[in-house]
Structures are given as C-alpha cells and as structure tokens.
C-alpha cells in the first residue's frame, strides 16, 4: 500500500482517510489523535479524541473538562484498529504523555513523531525508535548550529550564578507545560533542595505532573513578600512574564530563559536575557539525523521548522524527503518572544 493512502497532509493536519482520523489537527474535526498536550497540537473542539491518558489529563487541565465530545486513552504500546488502519503510540520523550503515532496498513508503516527529543528528561519516558517506511519528523532545530548541551550542564550554570549572586533572585523563563517541570526535576537532580518558586501560570500543570508520579520536590507559588524574601531564590515563570512588571517584586532579578533558542546570542540578548539556558524539548541537529537513520525509513516527511536544511541533508543521504509545510504548528520554546 502507498504510504500516502495511509496518511497524507491536509490543511487541517495529517489525515488517515481509511480511519477518517487526523493527527494533531489545527481545526475542529470528528476524530483526532493527539500526540501531546502543547496547545498547537492539542486543540479543543474535536468530536472524538485518542491520546495517552497523560495527554488527555493535560488537555482537560488546560482546556476544561468539555474539551472534546468523547475521549479514549491509549497506553504506549497498545494497539487500536480503526477502518483497517492499526494505530499505536510510543514515547516521544518530548513532555509528559507525549507520543509518536504509528499507522500501519498492508505491511506499510508510517510513523508521525509529533514533537520529540532524545536527550534525557526525568519527567517523561525516553523516545523509542519505531522502525517504519515513512518517518514524519519536526524540524524545529534542524540547522547544524543547534547542538543542545546537556540540561544538567545548563542547570549547573544556573546554580553557579545563584551561588555567585546570593542577593539576587533568579527568574527562569520556562514554558508552562514540560519545560518548567523538566527544569524543576533537573534542579533536584543537580542537588538544589531548597523550595522552587513558581508563577501562578505554572501551578496547574506542575500539580498534574505530581499526580502522575513525577517528583518535583517543594514547589511553592510566588506570594506577596518583602523583596528580601526572594534573595537567592530560583523562581520559574512563563517566558511572557519576564517582560512584565511582575518581575519588579524580586530583588535585582537575574533574567534566565530556558530554551533551545538561547544558543543564538542575538536571540538571548534581544530578550534581555542575562543567563541563557540552552534547554530544549526538541531534537537537536545531530539527534534529528540519528533518529532518521535509526528508523530505517526511506522516506522522510518534514512537518514544520527548518525544513529546507533537513531536506537537504536527507537528500545527501539518499533519502526521499519532502517538506509538508504544515501550518499552525508553532514552537512553544519561542513563546513570549517580542513580536
């Protein structure tokens, strides 16, 4: 069977005609498979939604209980056949509950990886390779300039700075779903055992992580307190909050930002970041290459990001690559960036 008969791009997203099912549709559809809870992938208003139970819980927390007509949870490795197409999910290592979707029919395997990363993340199970004929990949950081350092290394930079400036508060901009909890967990792994303060916008998802058994230690909401109370504190906040008067409550705030984009100096400086932390939940350039080769796929479809560079590399490897130019998928790591 031709892969495109199993799955092909439509304006709404990747579509499986035999199952009348869309993967991460950007508009309301009758049946959707959702790879993970980031808002550009997981939208409210679909009829039936298939996803991991973690992703369903995240959608419920972010969009309210009536976010879909009906929901069905699928565990990693579990299979479901719809309209003759067999679907299964495997960990994508991106955020809690994130999954790659495998669609199989007539011996042809098409894997849609959603957003993914290969670097270790204590808050979600690691990415699993799914051998396939067509591998559908993102390309957010698909340029040779992007090699992410280890998150531990970046968090140690933060701890060094906290030790150097004990009178200042370190405000870390981190996306509310996934990045913030990964930074918290990494702080714990690096030995930070004091309370971590969190902006109100991070609390609900953080609580959800905890309910799913991710230990983040003592996380407290930021409360009205004299400035000196936050001397030496580490405070996590959504990136957009870094640019508001909210930060004025902290003593001599040191602006930090956890994002893969922080590798580019101009991007860090443009946002007034003093301490860039290169921590990304997307695969970097070497990992994109490694993953593509490991899947054994002969055909690579690129959903969004720096598609030109990745397609160029694929062609050099003799792989058939095409850019799908799917629209509507942003990039949560750039959230809050000045227009």
């Amino acid at each position: 069977m031709q892969p495109a008969q199993i799955l092909h791009p439509r304006p709404e997203g990747l579509y499986a005609p035999a199952a009348d099912l869309y993967i991460d549709p950007t508009r309301p559809v009758a049946r959707a498979l959702i790879t993970h809870g980031h808002s550009d992938h997981a939208r409210a208003g679909h009829g039936a939604v298939l996803a991991t139970k973690e992703t369903l819980a995240i959608m419920g927390a972010r969009c309210g209980p009536g976010f879909a007509g009906s929901t069905q949870a699928l565990a990693y490795g579990e299979e479901i056949t719809i309209g003759g197409v067999r679907f299964s999910l495997r960990p994508a290592g991106h955020v809690l509950g994130s999954a790659q979707a495998l669609a199989e029919c007539g011996g042809t395997r098409v894997a849609a990886s959603g957003d993914y990363k290969r670097h270790p993340d204590p808050t979600c199970p690691p990415f699993e390779i799914m051998p396939c004929d067509v591998f559908i990949t993102e390309a957010t950081f698909a340029l040779p300039v992007f090699t992410h350092p280890s998150a531990d290394h970046e968090v140690m930079k933060l701890l060094d700075s906290v030790a150097l400036f004990p009178e200042r508060a370190h405000i870390v901009g981190a996306y509310a779903l996934g990045k913030a909890q990964r930074v918290m967990a990494t702080l714990r792994a690096c030995g930070w055992d004091k309370p971590i303060y969190a902006h109100g916008a991070l609390l609900a998802v953080t609580e959800l992580y905890r309910e799913f058994g991710v230990d983040l230690g003592d996380v407290r909401p930021v409360q009205d307190a004299p400035k000196s109370f936050y001397a030496g504190a580490i405070v996590l906040a959504p990136p957009s909050a870094l640019q508001t008067p909210w930060v004025r409550r902290f003593p001599d705030p040191a602006t930090c930002f956890a994002s893969g984009w922080m590798r580019i100096r101009a991007r860090a400086r443009q946002r007034g970041v003093e301490l860039p932390l290169v921590i990304s939940d997307h695969a970097d350039w070497p990992d994109l290459q490694r993953t593509i080769l490991e899947t054994g796929a002969g055909e690579i479809w690129i959903t969004h990001g720096e598609a030109d560079a990745l397609a160029h590399w694929c062609a050099q490897q003799g792989l058939n690559a095409k850019a799908l130019h799917l629209v509507g998928y942003g990039d949560e790591e750039a959230e809050g960036a000045a227009a």
Binding site: L143, I264, A266, Q270, R271, A338, A339
Partner: protein, 545 residues
Amino acid sequence: MNRFAALLDRLAYEPRRLGKLALLETYFRDTPDPDRGWALAAMTGALNFKNAKAGLIRTLAAERTDPVLFALSYDFVGDLAETVSLMWPADSARANATLSLSDVVEGLQTTPKGELPGRVAAWLDRLDENGRWALLKLITGALRIGVSARLARTALARLGGREPDEIEDVWHADAPPYLKLFAWLEGRGPAPSANTSVRFYPPMLSHPIEPEALEDFDPAEFCAEWKWDGIRVQAAAGIDAYGQRAAHLFTRTGEDASDAFPDLVGAFDFEAVLDGELLIRREGRVQDFNTLQQRLNRKSATAKLMAEFPAFIRVYDLLALGKEDLRALPFAARREQLESFAAAHPFAPIDLSPLISFNTWDELAAARAKPADGGAGVDAEAVEGVMIKRRDAPYLAGRPKGYWFKWKRDPMAIDAVLMYAQRGSGKRSSYYSDYTFGVWSGDELTPVGKAYFGFTDEELAELDRFVRANTLNRFGPVREVTHTKAKGLVLEVAFEGLQRSRRHKSGLAMRFPRISRIRWDKPPRDADTLDTLEQLLQRGETAEG
C-alpha cells in the same frame, strides 16, 4: 584562550556596568602577561590583523561545511563568527587544549598570508565552541560585548588603585600588550611615557548625506558629533626634528596661522597634533560664525582683539601623539585617545567636541533637531548639523568615500495626540514605550505616525503611568489610550521630512519622528490638524522639486 573566551561570553550577557567592571578587574588581576594585554587591546579595538579578516572565515567555512547548510545557518544566526563557531565540525573530546591568547594574537600577526587559513583551522579544531567564537570575533574585530575603552580603563584603574584619569594620562604611551602599563599598575615600574613630533596632516573631509541614506547603515558602526560653525584647524605642538619645542596652528590647507592666534599657540602645552574647530567663546557660550568672522577679518592680533574675541579649539580628532602617527587607527580608537588627551590637558586652549549619544538614527535625528537637549547645551546656537563618522574609519587625507558624513537639515515639528501605546522590547519591555499619535481631521483623530524615543527615562516612566491609568482598550501588547478633545495627552513630535504614502491612512509618512516634548499643559483640542501636515508636505515638495 579559554579564559579570554569565558570573559567575552560573560561580558556579552552582563548588562550592569558594575558587573562588567568586576569581571574585567578580576580577569586583569588573575591573567598573566602578555595575555591580559592582548585581551585589553582586543576589547578596546587596538588590534588589527592585516591578513586575518572576515574573508578568511568565509573561506574556512566553505572548506569545512556544506555550503547550503552554511548559508541557511548564517541566514538564521546573522553573525558570521557565531555561525562558524556553532557549526564548526570539531572533535569536542580534544577541545580545551592549551592554546593561549598570546599564541593566537602573535600567530595572527606574524603568520604569512598563505599559511593563515590552515593555522586558524587548526586552532578552531583545538578549541571548544566558546573558544572558537572568541577567536573568530578577534578576527572580525567586532566584539560587541559592551566594553568601551573607557570602561576597560576604569577597570584598570580599579586594578591599580588609581583614578581613571591617571590611566588616561599614560594610556597612549604604551602599546599592546601593555607590559609597561600593567607593570606600573602593579607597582613594578614607572608610568609609561613617550616623545612627540610636530607636523601638518592633510585633513579628512566628509560627504553630505540625507537621512534616508542613513537607513542603509548600522548605527552601532558609527559615532556622531556636532558640526560646529567655526573654521577647521590643526593644533600641533611638541619637540620638533631638531629637538626644539615647537607649536603651530595650521589651517585646513596647511597654512600656518600661528601669528594670527598667539593667544592660542602660546598656550599649547602638549605634544600632539589635534584636529578641530576654531571658535569664539564669550560668557561661557560658543558664538556663531558671524562673531568669529569679526576676528578673522583683522590681520593683526591686538591684545584688545584677543580679549574681545577669545578663541579656543574644539577638538574632534587626534592625529598624532608624541612621535606616534595615529591616523591608521580606527576612528573609535583615535577618539578614545583624544578623550584621554583632552582629559590630560585641562589648561590647553582646547575642549573636546562631544560625541552625541545615540543608538538609532531616530535618536540621532532627535539630537540633531534639538542640539540643546541632545548634549550641545548652551552651545546649541553654534551647531549647524551633525557629523557622522564610521567607528572603524582610519584618518585618510582628502574626501574618501563611505567614512565621514555631514547631515545638515532643519527638522519640522507638530503637536499630536497620543492614541495608542505598545510595550517596548529589551530593556523597555515592561514599559509602554512605542506611541502612535494622531492629528485632527475634523472631529476625528487620524493616526499619522509612531515614535518610540526622544524622551528621558523619567519621562518614559511618566508616559507609562499615563498609559496604564488612561487605557480604554487592550489589543495584545497594545493599549488604546483616552483621546478626546478635552482629555488626553499632547506630544510635540519632531521629524525630518514628510512623504506621501498609500500605506498610511493619513496618506502621509513621517521620516524619523520622535517625541520632542510632552505637552502635559496642552488640551488635545489644541493639537495640530491634518491640514497643517499637508501644508508642510507641499512646502517640502516645492523645495525639493
């Protein structure tokens, strides 16, 4: 090299002046000679490698990287040195090898041109990513780490327990890697000193420029100063070729005008050649050209004339210092030395023509429009425009293209009403700092432009408070502000010109608009009308046509 790279990296992200000073002082204290001297030279723009330029980096990138991927990456990153440092295919296991800054600087200075690419590539292989960035920045020369020579010297002063002005005195007497300077700062040697010589240097001249042409240039690459309405002179003094003390005042054509200005020349207490503007100062104010003309018209300088028209030189360039010809240095480096020089010669009949502080052409336009507020103070009447000079311009005889520009123009101004405000970016990101303003068209306000500078930090805070307290509607980062005939805020907006524009609702587009005054006193109903702008536009069209 690692230590130097770490210093640059931390300086690049440290926004606080005191933080930068602390980093520099620690580095100078903990780093041995000659590395620290080379670092100092690199940060103050005193290094220039004849054979190692940006072209070399492009050549290496072409050899070691895929051209398509390099082009895409460069396009994304926007900085050559950074792109190459990030994508250089190096073996990270071998990185952090012991390569000193001195090895690199001396290598860049002495390696024959043909061998240089191989040498630099070998270094890149031995360095980690940060080290590669520092090396490549050293070659391109644009460090952009927010360290001025003045800041570096202040750090040196702290290192030696001296005053910054003492550093200015000795700065020009030593050369990279500043062994004597550091020895003096650490109490191991005498203050550096140098001899001098005297001569005339054919002057460097400028080209006229229009504001729209400026938009092709990066303001960070330029300095600006006032264009003074006087006569161009050179002041040269020191020990001449025969070992004699000599002092001259040269005109721009090289004629010796010393006899007409004995009051000036007799007071030259320096060993240097200065470029500047001869002006008359009375009662603490620089006089206009008409007054100067009265002194120039007299052939002989009587005591009465000198008392009535006291002359001085407002200096803007330093061509030689002691025996050293500085003309090959970049303008920014000469300028730094001139500033040291002026500070070190408080009794000479000279003063320093100040640089105009600006980050954008808009800000320069604002200073140009209101020199009194832009730094010229009481001397504003003697300003006939601004001079714009490339930071990296050597001092070249004649009128070389692309280095110095003069910008003479009269701005226009109107009173407009604040309609919308948008949050700024960077430092101003928590303030509403971008203002859309309108003028009356019948009973309605029509937006005619947007301005985001021209005000002080205090004024910004007041404007921000006004916006927050008078918000009608919010649209994302934009707030609509109350703007009725009775209630609202009037802004005096100055601009350089008007053009017809179909993209704007008003049919007009302003060039370089900026807030020249906040009219807290003025009710919105008294603001200007679209007709006023139309008249200004027609006047402009007639004038230019």
